[in-house]
Subunit: 214 residues, 2 copies
DNA sequence: TGAAACCCTAACAAATGGTAGCGGAGGGCT
DNA sequence: AGCCCTCCGCTACCATTTGTTAGGGTTTCA
């Protein structure tokens, strides 16, 4: 029987790291050699322990995933590398490719996909495929701004007034701040009431905060 | 033996979700009822399945964690809520508090902390980071979190009045609702202004929402 | 046509300054 | 124990000023 694949994990999100560790250690042919929560510790581990593969997060404080890739490339270590990233950005992906990453996986990938990819990488069969990643990204980013739907009904000026109201300003203060007449601010406020279906300042403030203003 | 805590997970990062699921299902008193990778599915699950707790990611495409909290609050469901967030930002934290979240945990928290918090929440012992934030506030010279301290300075009655104000009630409505004179409500409001160092209803409402009322 | 700015009024609500009685909690004195 | 005193929360009231709300308008510009 072949030796187990010895894996090092690096991710500053401890919960995430612990989760992945669990996931991997259920596989008979994998063995988690260590879990590290920052780039520095991970690099030290690479110096001292022997491992077949490092799975690293892209975004870590201090030394990040890209730094780790660079380090490994510079020393011509034979260790395989898989980068986990939250971001479906082509620029980041290409940077990793340039640093010789073996696979680039999004954090919203299927667990099975990670397991599968690890085995593929270990067998030298994996070619990082950006098109797949891109397609997934497009589907996911569809209409992310649900709570701005209400805001779309408001005009630019009304939105602006709403922001001031949410900051606790009076009509007079808003009028002075925006160089408007108090009457104008009153009118906008009236329209805000109508459009947002409220009838008091308190509700207006709550709506505004719900919409992410203030 | 007590029934298991039935937990629903919502996180678009499938890897992360699977990891947490693993983590939780190793605990004898937890039972993962479902794992969903977007807000829509999670909400559907909440409609159809009975669960004691939902652990949701803050950032999801479409319906996000905040939307889920809002939904639950609107329907007055008794289900407990824990938000997992990547961001250690006061604004996001407060938004969750306003929507009545039971706990707010960062993704780089220790796995043990999550487990511990779940049990605390289920026992009604956890108030979202309230004590931690308080402790921080004491250490903080600039009193960033003085609205939490402020709550402690308020009397029972004042807190009650503040809740009504945050719900958009007028002095008259509050007076009728609590069988008080309008004058009394005015006095309480006056004291609230003094204690919370504000001078308008809008600011009062914001403070109230920051404190988790409303 | 609709957004934006401006104007007006009447009614209402809130903000802010007072005053003041009642009752419970706590400290101190005899 | 008993009594006094004070503090404070809660209640209630009043007058004045300021702000908000909900109607009704007009003009300008794209």
């Amino acid at each position: 029987m072949a030796a187990k694949t010895r894996i090092i994990l690096a991710d500053d999100h401890k919960l995430f790291a612990a989760g992945i560790e669990n996931l991997l250690s259920r596989e008979a042919d994998f063995e988690v050699g260590g879990v590290y929560h920052n780039g520095k510790e991970a690099l030290e581990a690479l110096e001292n322990e022997k491992a077949d593969l490092i799975i690293t997060d892209m975004n870590m404080p201090g030394i990040n995933g890209l730094d780790i890739l660079q380090h490994i490339k510079k020393r011509r270590w034979k260790i395989k590398t898989i980068v986990l990233s939250m971001y479906d950005e082509e620029a980041i992906f290409h940077k990793c490719i340039r640093q010789g990453v073996d696979a680039y996986i999004l954090k919203n990938a299927d667990p099975d996909e990670l397991i599968f990819t690890i085995r593929e990488v270990m067998e030298d069969r994996y070619i990082a495929n950006f098109e797949q990643v891109l397609k997934q990204a497009e589907e996911d980013e569809f209409d992310q701004y649900d709570h701005f739907k209400a805001a779309l009904k408001l005009s630019k000026r009304e939105l602006e007034i709403l922001k001031w109201i949410a900051q606790g300003k009076s009509n007079k203060e808003i009028a002075d701040g925006l160089h408007l007449s108090v009457f104008t601010v009153e009118t906008h406020r009236k329209h805000l009431h109508r459009k947002l279906e409220v009838s008091s300042m308190a509700e207006l403030v709550k709506k505004a905060l719900d919409m992410g203003l203030g």
